[in-house]
């Protein structure tokens, strides 16, 4: 029987090291080939924001252009100081009138049917109030509140911009521990026109938290913007946020995040592919959607305001609508303090 001391590994000889180092440097110095657009990305349709916890969100419009596959070049893992005029420019782009119709090849960007059947309009930008902004190199992500109960999130970069709208079904998430955070939105968005997927987290921080660093499932870390009681961070790709290291006056604490994988929505809707639905759109009886969005469970009900349908064939049902419903069970419960 063997013991479990590490088995010896022959040392790498200097010739090998030198040759491999030279190869590596040569590879890295060469111009990178254009990344292929994954089929999954094409099938993904317009990326969407998933409402989580107290907020349900729907409608994300991304505008990409040729060459947008390198859309995240210059992104930084820590917030950076905005260039002169960067935030003003991003705000202007975010406040541009949004089309009601989806872009060619896109999908519906409506928020879900109103009782009257028509899609709700985007809030008037003149009523928006900036809650928090996050700058990472050339990218600006802005979160606005829009009366009466909407949240507008917008990201603007050199090659693309995206805007989403969420409707709060209940009061802002309460019960944030002084030395903790509560995640309100956590999702992966993607755009069929080029940019790779990206994942974002929007949340609230306790009064004692002055800084937050997210640990991702790929071993990397991302420093969040913490300002005005809000937390905001995003990163290229689909890595999940597994924990947050929080700086407080007394110590640095680690808060585990129970979400394994950020939810990804193939179309504009509320909830994720793990939801279940009862009732049928238009039926006399109320429809109920229970959507599990990452660490959160949110449920909505409302007469004929929800819709249920499978996604991409045999996949689980998703929940759509809900913007006009109300939360019947949906307090954020995704943040788990302690071990997994």
């Amino acid at each position: 029987m063997t013991d479990l001391l590490p088995a010896p590994v022959p040392e790498l000889d200097e010739g090998w090291l030198a040759a491999r180092r030279e190869h590596l440097v040569r590879e890295l110095a060469a111009p990178a080939p254009s990344p292929r657009v994954s089929r999954r990305g094409v099938l993904g349709g317009v990326g969407a924001v998933c409402g989580a916890g107290a907020a349900s969100a729907a409608g994300l419009i991304l505008a990409g252009g040729p060459g947008a596959s390198s859309a995240f070049a210059g992104w930084r893992a820590a917030p950076s100081v905005p260039a002169a005029g960067q935030l003003q420019s991003a705000t202007a782009r975010c406040e541009q009138p949004q089309p009601k119709a989806p872009p060619p090849g896109g999908v519906s960007t409506s928020l879900g049917p109103k009782p009257s059947g028509g899609p709700p309009a985007w809030p008037d930008p003149s009523t928006w109030r900036l809650q928090v902004s996050d700058v990472r190199g050339p990218f600006s992500m802005l979160v606005f509140s829009a009366p009466p109960d909407a949240t507008v999130m917008c990201i603007a970069g050199p090659d693309f911009s995206a805007i989403s709208l969420g409707v709060n079904h209940s009061a802002a998430a309460g019960g944030v521990l002084a030395n903790g955070i509560a995640i309100e939105r956590y999702a992966t968005a993607r755009n069929p026109q080029g940019p790779e997927p990206y994942t974002f987290v929007v949340g609230r921080v306790g009064s004692a938290v002055s800084a937050a660093t997210l640990q991702l499932s790929d071993g990397t870390t991302v420093t969040a913007t913490v300002s005005g009681g809000r937390l905001l961070a995003w990163w290229p790709g689909q890595a999940a946020a597994t924990a947050a290291q929080l700086t407080t006056p007394s110590a640095t604490v680690t808060q585990a995040l129970s979400a394994a994988t950020p939810p990804e929505q193939p179309t504009a809707h509320v909830g994720t592919a793990t939801g279940s639905c009862r009732g049928v759109q238009g039926a006399d009886r109320p429809s109920t959607c229970t959507a599990k969005a990452g660490p959160f469970v949110a449920a909505h009900s409302g007469a004929a305001t929800g819709s249920c349908g499978g996604v991409q064939g045999a996949g689980p049902s998703t929940c759509a609508g809900g913007a006009e419903g109300h939360v019947v069970r949906g307090a954020p419960r995704g943040v788990v303090v302690g071990g997994r």
Binding site: L4, V9, L24
Partner: protein
């Protein structure tokens, strides 16, 4: 010897491949040892080592290394690369094709040593194969690669307490199934 710290090199490496090359020279042996112990295949481990650094470069803009060393982060990538070796090889196949040609041949003694080493590696790997995957990962990082609990937590993207509990479970499991207990961790030794 390059006296710059990992973090200094890392900052430079975002735009300077030569600085990244210095990080390679500094950490290639540890990454190679990790890959070798996980695969029990020295030749495969050599290729995987190159892939780990290519992957690290690919993700360089998405990373802000915590701590003083980038090794935990590199081993976190190595952990994923070993688990998804086929996909990693496919992603970097063009670069792998351009790898320097292997040495013309090994001396007979060298070949014999490699065979012996691979046999020992395979034996060690079999010993922890009975563990659940997550416990195995912690054993490989903490006991075999010498990472601290905190560094292993960073590499695996899990809380520190999770590393501790997984290692504890691995110890308990192996204590009942092996003649020899697990060796102490570097932290325990200190």
């Amino acid at each position: 010897v390059d006296r710059r710290t990992d973090l200094e090199l890392w900052r430079l490496a975002r735009t300077d491949p030569e600085a990244f090359g210095a990080l390679f020279e500094r950490h290639a042996a540890a990454v190679h040892a990790f890959c070798a112990r996980r695969t029990a295949d020295l030749a495969a481990a050599e290729d995987l080592t190159s892939i780990v650094f290519l992957e690290a470069w690919r993700r360089r803009d998405a990373v802000q290394p915590a701590g003083e060393s980038v090794l935990p982060w590199l081993l976190g990538i190595a952990h994923n690369v070993v688990r998804n070796a086929h996909r990693a090889r496919r992603r970097h196949r063009d670069a792998l094709r351009r790898l320097p040609v292997a040495r013309d041949g090994h001396e007979a003694e060298d070949i014999a040593a490699r065979v012996d080493a691979e046999r020992a590696l395979a034996e060690a790997r079999r010993a922890i194969d009975a563990l659940p995957r997550r416990e195995r990962d912690v054993v490989a990082l903490v006991l075999w690669s010498g990472l601290s609990y905190e560094e292993a937590a960073l590499a695996l993207g899990v809380p520190c307490g999770t590393v501790r509990s997984r290692l504890s479970r691995a110890r308990a499991r192996l204590r009942t199934s092996l003649d020899h207990p697990l060796p102490p961790t570097p932290q325990e030794l200190s």
